[in-house]
Structures are given as C-alpha cells and as structure tokens.
C-alpha cells in the first residue's frame, strides 16, 4: 500500500470509530447502559449527523459537571450555534436586503407614477394645530433615537460587508464600538418615546368604521381628487402606529435580553432574542422608510404636522376631514379656544 492509501485507511478507520462511538453515546444516553456496548467495540454503523441530530433535540444532554465556577461552561457542545450562524448570516441578512431595497424600489416607482401628492385645493393660508409640543417631542424623541439605533444596528449586520472594505479595520472597529454604545444607551430614549406614544395616541388608533372605507379606497393614494374621510389618524397611520408599538415593544424586550447577556435566559434564548431583534428591526426600518417618505417627499404639507405642529386647513380637510369637523365643532362650542389662524395675522 502506498502512503496515501495508508493515510486514507487510517482516516477512514478513525471516522468509523468516531461514528461507532456516536452510536454508543446515543444508546448510552437513551438506555443508560453504555459500558456494555463500549467494551464490545462492535456497534452498528452511525454517523456524526445522527449524533448531531440527537444533540439538537436534547441540547441539555451534552452538558456535564465542571469544577470551575462558571457552571454554564459545563455545556460541552452546542450545535445550535450553527443554526444561529446560518440564520444570521443567511436568511436574516437576505431579508434585510429584500425589505429595505424593496421598499425603496416601491417608493421610487410610486413617486415616478403618482408624483408628489399635492394639496389639491391649494393652501388656504389658515392653519390649525395638529400636534401639540408634547406630541412632537414624543415623535422626535422616538424618531431621533430610532435613526441612530437603526443605523448602528444595520452596521452590526452589514457594516463588515459594506463599510469595512472602504475603511481601515481600526476606524471601522472604533465606529462599530461607539455605534454599539450609542445603540445601548439610546435604547432608553426610544423606549420612553414608545411609551409616551402609546399614552398619547392609543385612544385614537382603535379601528373604526371610516377605516374600512379608507382602506377600500386605497387611502386615495392611487387616484387624484379622491380623499376618503378619516379621523385624526387614518387607517394607514393606525397600521403604522400598531406596527411601531408592537414591533417596538418586542424589539425593546429582545434588546434588553441581549444587553444583559444570560441574566434572564440561556444560550438558545440569547440566540432567539438576537434573531427576533434583528428580524423585527429590519421590518420596522422598512416601514419607517415608507413613513419618512410620506411625511416629507411624498406629500405636500404633511411635514408641518410634526414640524411646526400646525397644518394648513385645506390639507387637513383633504386628509383628515372627520378630525377637522371634530375639532371645529369643539372650538365652535367653546369660542374662547379658537385655533390660531395664520391668515388673520
């Protein structure tokens, strides 16, 4: 025999023995009668995949006792790490590209086809208060922190592929490090904003009869001159609200689980938390990109609502007719509280 065949033979033998032991361990763990098999040395064939499959089904079974203080290190082999790696580097990464590039393409097509949605009856010059200072503070607290959180989070997932090639390793690592610090600390601002948002707006975001009509009309998005009636928030904004609240809460919870590693959960829990955090954050980033488009480029007069807090009356009548009626009937009833009218100045 040549050296090559000898070596191959040796390797094959080793594999056979390893495979044989895998079966012994399986049998031992299942039947608690391992030694009898171990001494015979003639178990039936089994491969490492079988062992791995078994370990995955019972992750606790491969752990043992350690004499060092870190009891967690008793976990000998953790095959779930492979799944987490494949999920993060594969599906989650691809999902992010699809969602973010997808929403940008959709918005670009919409802009090219429909253009900017104008105030069709023109600006009236009269303005009414849409969001008071506390509402705007809440919005910008959440929005500002979300932008930093989103960018630093995207950097954790894509920076290595997209930014590292055009930066030095040192500066990229430093940027990612400070990004992570900002991510951790700004999370508190985001959560505060989220909670204030719920307190301020939840009562206006329960579905009502107008929402069905609004949705059936596609929000008037696809045809000029069509403005389905809506209250302070239309059905689209209500969907946005609930997406932000639900995704935001789950992202926050999973984020704090990640921030305090292993304090509330174990390894599979940490891996799940990271996956949930990343997937929902990517969904929310895509949703918010659409929201930013709507509030700026997409619709004339919309930014004022969160900018100065006062919107043009004609804009309000077109997009939130029921809310205007509600506000005006309230001010008619109490003449002392007339909304500030820009034209009167």
């Amino acid at each position: 025999m040549t050296l090559m065949t000898l070596r191959r033979h040796a390797r094959l033998r080793l594999l056979q023995i390893a495979a044989a032991f895998a079966l012994v361990v399986l049998a031992g763990l299942l039947l608690a009668s391992a030694p009898a098999y171990a001494e015979t040395g003639k178990p039936a064939a089994a491969d490492d995949a079988t062992l791995l499959k078994y370990l995955q089904a019972h992750p606790g079974d491969v752990s043992g006792r350690v004499s060092i203080p870190d009891a967690k290190s008793g976990l000998l082999i953790q095959p779930e790490g492979r799944n987490w790696r494949e999920l993060r580097n594969g599906a989650v990464s691809i999902l992010g590209y699809v969602l973010i590039l997808g929403i940008i393409v959709v918005l670009a097509i919409f802009y090219l086809v429909r253009g900017r949605i104008r105030v069709e009856s023109g600006f009236s010059g009269r303005r009414i208060v849409r969001f008071d200072s506390l509402e705007r503070f809440t919005h910008w607290l959440t929005a500002g922190s979300f932008i930093v959180l989103g960018l630093s989070g995207l950097n954790m997932l894509y920076g290595r592929r997209l930014l590292l090639p055009i930066m030095s390793p040192d500066s990229f690592a430093a940027m990612t490090h400070y990004g992570k610090l900002a991510h951790n600390f700004l999370s508190f601002a985001f959560v505060l904003g989220l909670l204030l948002m719920i307190v301020l707006w939840v009562h206006r975001n329960f579905p009502d009869r107008a929402d069905m009509a609004w949705l059936r009309a596609g929000g008037g998005m696809f045809s000029k001159g069509k403005h389905p009636p809506a209250t302070k928030f239309n059905a689209g904004q209500k969907i946005l609200f609930w997406l932000v609240v639900l995704c935001g809460i789950l992202i926050s919870i999973s984020g704090y689980v990640l921030m305090f590693p292993f304090s509330v959960t174990n390894m599979p829990g940490m891996q799940t938390a990271q996956a949930v955090h990343a997937i929902l954050a990517l969904v929310l980033i895509a949703v918010i990109i659409a929201h930013i488009y709507n509030g700026t480029l997409g619709m004339e007069g919309a930014f004022d609502a969160m900018g100065t807090g006062e919107v043009d009356l004609n804009w309000a009548k077109e997009h939130h007719s029921l809310w205007v009626a509600e506000t005006q009937s309230r001010t008619d009833a109490a003449p002392g509280a007339v909304p500030r009218a820009g034209a009167a100045e």
């Binding site: 023995i17 361990v25 608690a32 062992l51 043992g64 390793p169 992570k180 610090l181």
Partner: protein, 206 residues
C-alpha cells in the same frame, strides 16, 4: 505548514484539571476567564467521561463568520486568532461557537462585555511575537518558540494532544487499534468536517 489541531482522548482524561491550571498560569489569564475547561459527563454514572475542551480552531470557524468587525484571522498553522484591538465585545462569537470557547471579562454591564478572550493555541495575537503587548493581551507565544501548547505538553496521561492534525490523529488511531475501543475524537466532526482547502489559507481571510 502543519494544520494544528487539538484532540482529547476521553478514555485517558482523569479530570485532573492540570491543563486548565497550566493554561491560566502560562498566559496569566484574568479572574473569571478559563480558556480551557474539563467537562465531566455522566458524572458518577456508568459511561462517565471527562473531556478537556477549549477553542478547537475550526476549519470553517463560526466565530470568524459572525464577527461584525471581522477581528478574527487564521495563521499559516490553521490556528484561529483574533485582535483584541478590533473586538467590540458584542458576544456574537459566543452565540455561534459550538464549544463555548469565547470568554469575556465582564458578565453584563450594558452589553459591554470587554474584549473577548479565548485559547490562542499558545500562539499569541497580531502583535510582534512575544512582545510585552502580545503577552499582555494574549499570553505567551509558544509556537513562535517552536513549542506546542502547554496544556497538551504537560498532560500527565497524554489524553490531550496538540499538534499537526495528521500526526495526532495517527497517534489516536494507533491507541484505539491497540486497546480495541475509543470514544471518538470529541468535537472533530464539528470543528474540522468541512473541506481541506480553506484549512491552510494563509493570512487574514475575509
């Protein structure tokens, strides 16, 4: 160049923890960090086995694959090393590692877990061989001195083998042939199963 690997013969390990102690002492590893540990499975029951486990320097290293700042690199000997200057302590390598090898100086503290620390196969880090900076961050660089990892070198039963993967596999194979049984090279299928081509890829892999 040789492809360095670890192999623990579970039939020989007597759980003396000398490898753990030797590693801590040689590299002056800080409190709370154990680059190597001995795990006893089925303790006190039939089929009890002890296995000394550390970073296995995987062929397709999961830590390297998930690191957001790409701080890992592979030496010409197939050893997986990392730069503590680049590490941001995010903990991803620990989630991905099948062997629980990465260690962190801090448990929590807003997720700032400090610079990750792990077995270097006694071959230091990116700094100049056996410079004070290298020693402070990664411990001694025995490979640069032509020596093999201390844990395996001083193993009293020669259960833990470290060195050229082909040679230690052959030693193990001879043992198994001689005694007629063997409990398998723990972690080998997980660490070294993938193709041979990437094994000896020199320098930093992207």
């Amino acid at each position: 160049m040789a492809r360095m690997k670890f192999l623990c013969d579970a039939e020989r390990c007597i759980e003396c923890n000398a490898c753990v102690t030797a590693c801590k002492n040689e590299h002056e590893v800080p409190w709370g960090i154990n680059r190597r540990r001995v795990v006893t499975i089925n303790d006190g029951k039939p089929g009890e086995k002890s296995i000394s486990m550390a970073c296995m320097h995987c062929t397709d290293a999961p830590c390297m694959a998930v690191c957001p700042v790409d701080c890992f690199y592979r030496t010409e000997d197939g050893v997986v090393l990392h730069s503590k200057d680049l590490c941001i302590g995010c903990g991803y390598c620990f989630y991905a590692c099948p062997f629980g090898a990465p260690q962190y100086p801090q448990v929590g503290n807003f997720g700032s877990r400090g610079k990750m620390d792990k077995c270097t196969f006694c071959s230091g880090g990116p700094e100049a061989d056996n410079s004070p900076a290298e020693f402070e961050k990664y411990g001694t660089n025995r490979l640069a001195e032509g020596k093999l990892p201390l844990c395996a070198e001083m193993c009293s039963t020669k259960s833990l083998l470290a060195g050229d993967g082909d040679i230690i596999a052959q030693i193990y194979e001879e043992r198994v042939a001689k005694r007629g049984y063997g409990s398998g090279a723990w972690g080998w299928s997980t660490a070294y199963k993938t193709g041979q081509s990437a094994e000896t890829a020199p320098g930093k892999s992207g």
